[in-house]
Amino acid sequence: MMTTSDVTTDARKVASSSAGNLGEQPITAGELNATGVCAWFSGRLVLEDVDLFMERHAVTALIGPSGCGKSTFLRILNRMHETINGAQLAGTVELNGEDIYSPNQRATWVRRHIGMVFQRPNPFPAMSIEQNVLAGLRFNRIKTSSKADLVEEALTKAGLWTEVKDRLSNMGGALSGGQQQRLCIARALAVRPSVLLMDEPCSALDPASTLRIEETIADIKEEVTVVIVTHNMQQANRVSDNCAFFLSENGKPGHIVEVGSTVKMFSAPNDPRTLDYVNGRFG
């Protein structure tokens, strides 16, 4: 099997050599705590005062109508928000108690520990399946004793191994959409992140592929904390343990209306708007 300890040790070495004091944390599922998060695009407030705690070993779903700031919030969680021109933010985000926006924290380090899967599958077209999975290791100069084992492990976790094991040197772009998305999940998992953020990972996929990815989420949540943005209420109900309902009413910036366990949010939410939304009466 995989030389887990090797990767972990190496990753720790990398971590401790970089500026952050997160380096001493073990590389397992982490917990995220966002407090007072606000976001602006070109001076326009789009997200106001969001507090959300994302539990370890659990799947947190961010639900809400389009334009309510879910994706913006998600991108704030791994410092991808700041890559957009004119984007600003306020508040704190803590990974296992450490502020990821503290001045001596590197964005690259944060993103390596808080992985992300995007709405559209985006495997690197110039790389083979195998190279795609190993891309994160290459980018972060993480050495492994056996790349082949790591590739197998990551692809197995993403539920893609049996389909591609005989053609690992084929180009990643030649896979179907659902397979590409699972390849992206495998690529994100290969660097062993503490948290995996998923931005509507199934919205471009067919029901069968969606089901496979939901199974994958259920499989990986023990080792990596998952935060998922979804427009699909059934999906949120199926995959998540906790739900946060975002809303942006009458041109006001997006905010959280209600947070709670998925069971409660879908059966007896406190706020009538949540009940309306989860039952498909608006949004």
Partner: protein
Amino acid sequence: MSVLDEAPTSQSPLEPDQTKDTSPQRKPIKVRDFKPSDVLLLAVTAIAAYSIVWIIFDQLTLFSGEFGFVVTWIVVFLAMYWFVNLQIYGRHMAVDRLLGGIVTIGALCMILPLVLLIVYIFSKGLPLLSLNRFTQTQAGVGPLSPISAGGFLHAIVGTLEQVALAALMGIPIAVLTAIFLNEIGGRISSSVRIVVTAMSGTPAILAGVFIYSIWVLTVHDYSGFAASLALAILLLPTVTRGTEEVLRIVHNDLREASAALGAPDWRTVWSVVLPTARSGLVTSILLGVAVSIGETAPLIMTVFGAQVMNTNPFHNPQAALPLVVYQEIKLPQKSAVALGYTASLVLFILVFTIFVLARILGSTWLQNTLRGRGKGKGARLDGDVEEELFSVALAPAMSFGSGEADVDLGYHYRPDQEDPT
């Protein structure tokens, strides 16, 4: 005549051989079928149009001239072709065929000069082309020597050295400039872009004069290196513009995916953006080389030309193929002019060879072959050595704007700072 049916749509992959083998009854529909009768129709229409134009243009009116004749012929042909198709197939098909005809004629007008040029060079240059043109120099060849004596090896070597040096200096700068413009940007990028655009309009002779005055006239003398300096100035804007366009079409999703894996910006550029844009990159570099390999004006003032072999590009005048063409064709003797055409042919062959080689080297096929088709454990995973080399080379250039260096993104959040809204 049957140019229209050579359109790629008619040989679409919708009709693979297997379909024919398994079920011969099921014939695939040809959406844009161009039957033999259509070829005949096209030919007859063209001939009829020719005849009408001949009668009206050449015989009845007082117009004359081949150019006017051809233009009138094309217009009359298109009108007749549209009308005939309208009668036979109806309005939809007639418009389709008319536009197809216009586009095809346009393409022919584009290709024709090129074909004529190549035919001309071959017809003029081929009679005097022999193996010794590639293996000998003009050393000891005087006006009284037989026309078959001597060759252009000295000029081939000179051109290759000058262009290689120019490419060596110009291409890295050009690619880095393009990366700066597209991947880093910032306040000065627009002014850099204006300078690059202005440079691409620089007359070649100006680059020659510039190098002549600051390099040749000062401490140094005529040399191949002086020429390559001038050529580098000329290929810089071409490669920069081309590379920038190519980098721009690399989808931003890929940059985000790379960043989300924790890659610093230089790494994203080196491992994701450039490999994705590789074939376009090769094309833009080739365009730059093509610009510099055919330039003559700057060479006059920088290499001076030579009859003998000079393999050292840093010292003494050197020959160059375009310069040989220019110098030979200027001479009064017919034999020299003929040799000039042969030199053009040699230049043409040289350029063609370089292009074919570059295409093969840049092809995905070769990259995959080199990488090895090994599966699973045996496969060579990536060029670690190559990567280390380039990370050393590229990292300092990209370090601003990336999280890799101590300089972090300028606009990151500081808790003690209020947001300006």
